[in-house]
Amino acid sequence: MAADPNKLGIFVTSPQHMRHILGIAKAAVRAGKTVMVFFTYKSIHLTKNPLFVELTQLCAVENIAICADSYICEGFDNVNDIPRGLIDKQMRTQAFHGAILDECAKYIVM
């Protein structure tokens, strides 16, 4: 499958750029693009940021996920404390990042 030229992948590795992530996602949606986002390692703390829910509303369920292992490593409960805006099947592995690389013609690291 060729990467979708209208799909932007955002790989989030830093816990401190929620404003930029949301700003980019909103601008991409305004431009008629699809956004696919994966949060890994300490960036999963951004799921506790009030802006996170807004981000999840910009993405289809299959286009936003977080690394479940990272969430657990950081002390959160991946069963009883699923981040607001997500459901259990959006608690994923690093394979979701692989899918972003395969599916998105454009990509940015945050």
């Binding site: 499958m1 790989f11 590795t13 830093s14 401190q16 890994t40 390692y41 300490k42 990272s70 592995t93 690093q94 394979a95 990042h97 692989g98 690389l101 395969d102 990509y107 690291v109």
Partner: protein, 115 residues
């Protein structure tokens, strides 16, 4: 699916998780090249050593740039040296470049988290 060349640059001692992230791509049939910048080496747990070895097994490589790679690593675990210029040239061929996590800190860590 096309195998992609992905460089993961690790500039901050807290973000050696980039190596695990590289392994995650390697198992998806991509070529992962995590690069530890300026001596920000991880604590060499069995888990970390295994991850580094697996990346090599899957035709990737963990590099050290800006500091000599440690040579006292567990058997089968290798970190190769690469200069900044060599890294830049190698990354011209990359499909993706991932500056991972946070930049280098300007101070040494306090005792509470230095070991």
């Amino acid at each position: 699916m096309e195998s992609l060349k992905v460089y993961i640059l690790i500039a901050n001692r807290v973000y050696n998780d980039g190596i695990r992230s590289g392994l995650g791509l390697a198992v998806e049939n991509h070529y992962a090249f995590p690069v530890i910048m300026n001596g920000e080496f991880p604590r060499m747990s069995n888990y970390m050593a295994e991850n580094i070895a697996w990346i090599s097994d899957m035709e990737g490589q963990v590099y050290s740039c800006g500091a000599e790679a440690p040579t006292d690593l567990p058997e089968g675990t290798e970190i190769a040296n690469i200069s900044l210029e060599e890294l830049g040239e190698a990354m011209r061929e990359a499909d993706f470049i991932i500056p991972y996590g946070l930049p280098k800190q300007s101070h040494e860590p306090p005792g509470a988290c230095s070991e």
